[in-house]
Amino acid sequence: MPKKWIINLRSFWWQIAILVVLFILPFIVSSFYVYVLALIFVTALLAMSLNLVLGYGGVYQFHHAVFYGVGAYAVALMLTKTSLPAWIGFIAGPIVAAIVGLLIGWLCVRLTRLYFGMLQIALGSLVWAIVFRWYNFTGGDNGICGIPLPSLLSSLNGAYYFILIILLICLIVMYLIVNSPFGSTLQATRDNPGRCAAVGVNVRRHQLIGIIIATFFAGVAGVLFVVLERSVFPDLLFWVLSLEILIMCLLGGWFTFMGPVLGAAITVALRTFVGIYTEYWTLILGVMLMLLIFFLPQGLVGYLQEKFRRRIKVSTKRT
């Protein structure tokens, strides 16, 4: 009989416990940790959105950051240049991101694998270049800062709760999507596109829909970024960030649902806390990643899964 887990996290009570901890956190730790945690939430949502197409769809989404940045800039521009109420901006962000995702995705999806990724890098770089150089509209290299937010969200704690709630809602929706018939078909197209096509599944259309969903959530992450930082910068669309998100999925393990969250948490925590002690945190991050890729190609969670699997086998043998 398999060993009984000491903590069965599917248990209702444990999930409540974690949620309670997260909700009362602002009252027990200093504002700096609240800020870092909120940043982790935003990055986690971004990484999860990439994993929807990367891990579950097998799509080489190499420039995912573009959709994140587009969502952030859309809401930033709406809040600073128009006098529309904030919630319209919040909804517009993900929608604009999804539209851009549809356009770029439609152009790329006729290619496969590496060529898909490379065309997306080219298209994404074009969008970045336009945002980066259109000084009069997007603020160019300066970005936009001091974005006005509704008073409920303008405090750090207010932003923290908003981000936490939206993250939880998005995670639940993503879980439902992944476990839906669409999700299963998407994973099938990842594993064996030829067979799917033979059975009559339109592989390209599934991939495109997956991309639209993923870019929508990336746009949501972009909106949450604006809520937290109240500013946007062209670096949000830069290819280096895209590769960093890929690494987060890899770190955490892209065949698991919550893996990217772990990857995001590690990356943000490293960057913040190592950055306090040394200005060479990029070096440390790079070395850690190299070690991880070298020794743990399935990611951190995948590696631990392997270890637990072996333990189960051992305990089964005993009984």
Partner: protein
């Protein structure tokens, strides 16, 4: 399998978060008085701007070491730095970390005008004083100025007035404007052009070229400019590109074909890295030269800086020095490190400096500094170029009037 995976992921996430939070002790409420005054400097310590920002930090350190010997209200001033790599997003996160985690009393920085604006906005929300040490965009103390931001460097409004007045006396009519496509570049170009056209309406703008900050290859932009054949050019480069532009100008022979004006061209931080390869005949403005004016205070300052750091001080050293003196004097005058009282004490405060007495104007929190205008030239004494034919313009002649500031801020 999926359930186990989710389970493990969640365990790991929680464990990781708890570990991270446990690593560094949770900070309590702000400590009471009697502890050191903490200053957090966010600035660019990578790339081109370092030739300026190292001066700021080193002179600041020199000055507070001096002040700490006597003590300020029985305590000392400490500082810590963060590198923003000339990017506004890193400057903002650096400032947030300094305020929330390091609990600094005062923020200082940064050389990038866009970063300074972002940090200034953050300082306003957090109600922490922010002293701008090098960013020259006039909106920092002008249109976007507020109670919590101060500037110890001249700004584009002042420089623009000086440049416009100087160029109006020159015989050139057809101009080209080129520079870095960001807050500072546009600000200095607009200010210069605005003042020039008001004094000499006959000037024509043939065209403009704007390149991205940190553009590695300026040659195609320079050749395009040469092809347009302007009489003169205004070069609006910031900390990242002043040096590369001068280098490219010399390499392409631009400085021999087209006379040009570049704000801060004569500053030590711009001219020294190029050594004897720097172009001659470039007009520039600067807040400070270590060789001019030849006063006792300047000499003493230069000697102290040289003894400590084995190099000549540039304008950044002036800014760091007066920032330290302003902080020390204001804290002593206020008798406390309470932010509001500190700000009240700082308004209108006067300190001594190597360029004479400097006042922090109360209304807009802008330090009143003189500007020195000159032309680059090789001299036998040094293995870098210096400014010659120096003209001193006192600060009060250049400052925007209080009414102009009010109009810019939209205040009655």
């Amino acid at each position: 399998m999926k359930d186990k995976a989710m389970l493990k992921s969640i365990v790991l996430v929680v464990v990781m978060l708890v570990t991270v939070l446990a690593l560094i002790p949770s900070c309590a409420a702000p400590p009471p008085l009697g502890r050191p005054i903490k200053v957090g400097i966010v600035d660019t310590y990578s790339g081109g701007p370092t030739s300026y920002t190292n001066d700021v930090r080193d002179a600041f350190k020199l000055a507070i070491d001096e002040a700490n010997k006597k003590g300020i209200l029985g305590t000392t001033i400490e500082f810590t730095t963060r590198d923003d790599k000339f990017k506004p997003d890193l400057a903002l996160s650096g400032a947030k970390e300094l305020v929330m985690s390091e609990k600094v009393d005062i923020l200082m920085g940064t050389i990038n005008s866009a970063s300074a604006l972002a940090v200034s906005d953050y300082a306003k929300t957090e109600k922490i004083p922010f002293i701008d040490t090098f960013a020259k965009d006039e909106t920092i103390t002008g249109k976007l100025g507020h109670r919590y931001v101060f500037s110890v460097t001249e700004n584009t409004a002042m420089a623009g007035k000086a440049i416009g007045a100087y160029l109006a006396k020159q015989p050139y009519v057809k101009y080209w404007i080129a520079g870095d496509d960001y807050a500072y570049g546009h600000a200095i170009a607009d200010a210069s052009w605005r003042n020039l056209t008001s004094l000499k309406p006959a000037v024509q703008l043939l065209g403009q070229s704007w390149w991205k900050v940190g553009e590695p290859d300026l040659t195609p932009y320079i050749t395009a400019m040469l092809a347009a054949k302007p009489d003169a050019a205004i070069i609006a480069t910031g900390a990242a590109d002043c040096v590369p532009f001068l280098k490219a100008a010399k390499a392409t022979g631009f400085n021999e074909k087209v006379p040009f004006f570049m704000h801060t061209a004569t500053e030590q931080g711009t001219i020294a890295p190029l050594g004897l390869d720097a172009p001659e005949g470039v007009w520039g403005t600067s807040n400070y030269h270590f060789y001019y004016p030849d006063t006792a205070e300047n000499k003493a300052f230069v000697k102290a800086f040289q003894d400590a750091y084995n190099r000549f001080p540039g304008a950044g050293a002036l800014y760091g020095y007066i920032a330290a003196n302003f902080i020390a004097k204001a804290v002593e005058k206020a008798g406390t490190m309470d932010t509001e009282k500190f700000i009240d004490a700082l308004e209108g405060l006067k300190v001594d400096s190597p360029v004479g007495e400097v006042e922090m104007r109360a209304y807009d929190h802008q330090a009143i500094l003189p500007i020195f205008m000159g032309v680059t030239k090789k001299v036998p004494e040094y293995n870098f170029l210096i400014a010659t034919n120096i003209v001193t313009i006192p600060g009060k002649d250049l400052m925007p009037t209080i009414d102009e500031i009010k109009a810019a801020r939209g205040v009655k």
